[in-house]
Each structure stands twice: as C-alpha cells, then as structure tokens.
C-alpha cells in the first residue's frame, strides 16, 4: 500500500513542478494555483504513505536510507508550503519541486538495509540530519533564487521574470533563517554521530564531508554576524555547503557497510 502512495505523491510533485515551470514562462494564476494544489495533494498522499509505513513497521524504516530520504522530501515540501502560504513564492516552487523529486526517486532506489544500531541516539542522529538537510535544501533553493534576482538587479537588466520574482531581502531573510535552523540541526547531527563514531572508532569520507559542510555553514553564519557578510558571497557559500551535504549523502549510500559508520 505504501509504494502506490509514494508513486502517487511523486507524480503530484512532478506535475506541481510542471505547473510552477509553466508559471515561470507565463505567470497565470491558474498555474500557480494548480502548482500549490498539486503540491498539497502530493504532500497529503505522501503523509498517508508515511503514516501507513509507520503503522505497518513502526519508526524503524525512517532511520533507514530510503525511509529517511522520503521523510526528508516530505519535510522539504511542507516547509516550502508553509513559506508559500505565508507569502506566495511560486518561483521557489519551481526550484523546490524538482529537488523533492530528486530526493524521492533515490529513496526507492537505495537498498533498504537495516540499521546496525537502534535506540534513541540513532533516532535523534538521523532525525536531526533529516530536518537539517531539509532546511539546507530550502535555503539552497532560496540562495539560487537570490543569486538569480540579484544578478538581474545588479546588472540593471530585469528580464521578463523580474516581475514574478520576490524581493531580494525577503529571499535573503528566508535563506538566512533556514541556514541557521539547518546549522543547529547539522551541529546536533554531528555531535550525535561523533558520539556513535567514538563507539565504533570509524571516520570516513562522509563524516569528513559533514565536518567541511559544518565549517562552511559556520563561516557563513560567523561572517554574517561578525562582519555583516550577506548577499552574493553568503549565497555562494550556502550553495557550496549544500553540495557538501549532498556529498555526505552520496558517501552514506555508497558505503558498503551502512551500519558500520554509525
């Protein structure tokens, strides 16, 4: 029952992405409205899939690679919808929908290996990782958007998209808050991971990349707070940080011994 639900939600996210892209080309209320409706529908079906999964197998699947990616995709969608309902940002939908699809597809492709270690520590570690990555994914999308808008404003060449793009400050503020939230979760993830790693003594590429990503985000936040760094430079660092996070996940799922690295 779970798989058809996930497939349905995947289709809805794809269709929503199509609507948002259509909106970028021609800003009809129609495509914006349907983009949101499809995303909400997809999120509801996705929620049904997650609930079904939970009732069938408990929380365990969510701490596995496939389940955790699925949960992360759900959090990204709901995070975006929360922002979008507060202040419509359909252009961000055009970034986020494909990103969600990109997260949800591998959720089905990765082997469903069982975790080696169970317990509250693992749940916290994976849970904070999922929340942090979802926040970083949204801040990544917003930073991309910021760079797009900023480039147009700076070059004084406001293209056809200009009227449809939100203000620079709004995008920057949202990206900053999500980066802060992601950083808190990432710090917790690393601290919990470090705790488990000490038990096994393992340190691999994934962990190293996580440290570098943490350091990158720490630079973004510190530079902003201490030297007022914001705008383009900060956006590029946020992009770099998220790519490192993606690297962490690639390292995680390419690892032959998933359980061993926790």
């Amino acid at each position: 029952m779970v798989v058809p639900f996930v497939h349905l939600s995947l289709l809805a996210y794809l269709a929503a992405g199509g609507c948002y892209l259509a909106w970028l080309l021609k800003p009809h209320d129609f495509s914006q409205r349907w983009g949101r409706r499809l995303l909400v529908s997809g999120a509801l079906v996705h929620l049904a899939a997650l609930v079904t999964e939970y009732t069938q197998s408990g929380a365990d699947p969510f701490w596995r690679p496939g389940g955790s990616l699925s949960l992360m995709a759900f959090l990204i969608v709901t995070g975006f919808l929360a922002l979008d309902f507060k202040r419509p940002i359909p252009v961000v939908g055009a970034f986020i929908s494909p990103l969600v699809v990109a997260v949800l597809v591998p959720a089905h492709l990765v082997p469903d290996r069982a975790s080696a270690v169970y317990g509250a520590g693992l749940v916290l570690h994976v849970g904070t990782a999922i929340l942090g990555t979802a926040a970083f994914a949204l801040s990544f999308g917003l930073s991309l958007l910021f760079l797009l808008v900023e480039r147009q404003v700076k070059a004084r060449r406001l293209g056809r998209l200009a009227a449809r793009l939100p203000s620079l400050e709004l995008v920057e503020r949202l990206a900053w808050r999500l980066t802060l939230a992601g950083f808190v979760f990432l710090s917790s993830t690393i601290a919990l991971g470090k705790f488990f790693a000490q038990r096994t003594g393992a340190l691999d590429l994934k962990t190293a990349l996580a440290y570098v990503a943490w350091f990158t985000y720490a630079v973004v936040i510190n530079a902003r707070l201490m030297a007022g760094w914001r705008g383009r430079r900060a956006a590029f660092l946020v992009l770099a940080g998220f790519l490192l996070i993606v690297g962490v996940y690639l390292g995680l799922y390419r690892s032959s011994a998933y359980g061993a690295i926790i």
């Binding site: 404003v153 203000s167 620079l168 400050e169």
Partner: protein, 438 residues
Amino acid sequence: MTSLVVVGLSHRTAPIALREQVAAGESGAAELVGAARQISGVREVAIVATCNRLEIYVVADEPAAAANDLRALLARDREDVTRALYAHTGEAALRHFFRVASALDSMVVGEPQITGQVKDGFRRAREAGASGSQLERVLARALFAAKRVRGETALSEGLVSIASVAVDLTRKIFGDLEGRTGLLVGAGEMGSAAARALKAAGVQRLWVVNRSYERAQALAAKVGGEPAQESALPALIEVADVALCATAAPGFVLGYDLVAAAAKARRYRPLFLLDLALPRDIDPRVNLLENTYLYNIDDLDQVAAAGRNLRADEARKAEALAASEVAAFLRDAQVRAGAKVLAELRARAAEIAKHEAERTLRHAGPLTEEQTASIQAMAQAIVAKLLHAPAQALRAEAEALGEAGPLAEMAARLFALAPDDAQKPTLVPTSPPKKEVA
C-alpha cells in the same frame, strides 16, 4: 514662408554621458534662447530642457537655414554632439512637438512630468520675450493633445513615471517599504516626484538634503520629509535604505569613497541609489560595491521598457490621437486662412449694424431698455441673415481647398478687406482649438 523648426537631442539619440555634457541649466537655456534669437530669420524661440532632452523650437522664415544654424549652435563643433542631433521642420516638427508634449517620446511613455517641463520652457521663453503668438498657439494645441492622450487612453496607468519605476525597483530590493528610510538629495523635479511616491508607498522617514537648508525645509514640507544639513549627508547615507539624487551639481555628490565607507559602516545592508540628475550625481563605480545597487536615468529607461511593451496598445492609440491633433491643427491653420476673410467680413458687417442701430436710436427719442435692445438685435439679425449664405460658401471652399480660394479673394475685393493677410496660410489657428470627434 514661416515654419516651425526643432533641433535637439534626446535619450533616443544620445547616451547619458553625452547629454550631461550639453545639458542646459536655467542660465544655459537663457543663453541658448538669446543666441538662437540672433539667427537670421528666426522670429520666435523656446527651449525644452529636461534630463532626457534638450530641444530648441523656433519659428523661422527660412526653416532649412535656421535648422543648420541651430545645429551649429548646439554642436559647437563637436562631432559626437552633431551625430546625436536631429532636426525637423514644418509638419514633422509639429508632429515631434506634439509627441513630446504628450509624453509619447519620453523615456517612460505616458509620464506626467513632461507637460510641466514643456510649459516651464515656454514660460521662460515668454518671460524673456522670445516666444510669440505662433509658438504660443502651437503650445496651446500641443497641450490640448496631451490632455486628450491622458484622458482618452490608459497610457498613464500602471508603471509609467520615473517615480513609479523607482518605487517598483525599491520594492524589488526591499519588498515591503513600511518602516524603511529614504534620503532625497537635491531639488530636481523627478527626484521630488520619486520621493513623494516612496513616501506614499510606505517609506517611514525621508530626509531631505539641499545645499541651502531653507530650500531643504521647503522641499521637505512638500514631500513629507525631514530637512537635514548638507554636512549630515555621509551619516545619512549610512542609515538610509534608498537614496535619490537630483541636484544640479556639476560633479559627483556621492563619490565612490563616501559610499564605500558608508557601505562598510552599514555592514553591507542593501543600499539602493537612484541617480536622477544630469550631469550624474553618483559615481557609477559604486554599483561594484557589495549589496549596493545604483540606477541612473538610462537604467530606469530599460526598466520602463517593459512597461512600454505592456502598454503598446495604449501607446498606439495615443500616437493616433496625437497625429489626429497635428492634422487638425494644420487643417485649422489652413482653414482659418480662408475663414479669416469671413471673420473680417462679419466683423465689418457687425460694426456697420451697430453703428446704424445707434444712429437710429439717437433719432428715435426716449425708448425703454427693451425697445433699445430689440432694435440692436434686429440690426444684427439682418446682417447675420444676409451673410449666412456667403459665409457658408466661404467656409465650404476653405474646407474643400484647405486654403483661401477664389471666393475668398473675391469677397475680400468686394468688401475691401485685407486680401494679402487673409490669404496667407499661417502656422497656427486664430481661434481656440475645438475637440475633434474621434
């Protein structure tokens, strides 16, 4: 034959760097008017000088020669200026002026400021004794055309003025303008309009800086801002979110070093700078600074271009309207030449009727007011009825030929009117314009 001539350059032919080199302030415009009046055959002169154009309008006996002399006057042997200059004579000059006055040739098509700027230019010419009845009538009709364009098309709706473009761009950077702070430097008309628009859009505090503090106070009262001393400028630029510069200063008011220091002090919070002056007030290099965005008048034009495209249909309507007003103006001018005979004939007849009625009244003894009025009305009625048929024939001829014809000539001879004056086509109509039915 006298004809209208215009020579000038605008944002369409010259970039801002060139326009600021030939920009004429109030004194420069007065000098140009004086020099243009010295040109042989030039009867009347007026100048339209805005941030986006400098144009000399003259009524001259020899249009081609006058255009050449005016080109030389503006170019002053500069090759780049010569290339940017355009000249129109006769009907083309009229068409150009009507388009300018109707804001169809403006950077932001449909913007409302140009009408005031054209009026100012002609007022200054009038005060200097440089313009006369011909230019005044052209102006009256052009303003009438502008009024129709504003009233009968939707051209002035939406994103039309530099002010609204400025507000739109500020929103693009800051989003909601509630609680934001602004700074207006200088007393330029466009800057004031943009400042008012920003205030209306929600900007909370607006400082107004001028070289003269009294002027800053007056302007602040006008735009709803707070006056500030010129010396406070570096401190204000550190706290303002958006700054508008519209001074007549010859150099940069906001130099690179000043803005760079302010950007650092404000910890690179976004700063939006609008340079609405000519010559420019803000060093263009400040746009290289992080989170500092500088737009000058030409940049605003690019933004406005999108608005222009959106209003293309309305612009087409407005163009047709302005063209119909030019045609009506020319037709009026020609018809009035023929109708002048008719007007003189009527005036002569009315005078005779009045004179004869008074003579009759003198001999008739004491009459009541009603009886007196009745005799006067009878005399005027006899004249009107007698002239009804000839008047119709003369008007029909003038409208058919577009000028005074044989009938008009015959009438002038029969009634000993002034035939030369009557038949000479003039540039302008002799009566106020009538609204043409579209």
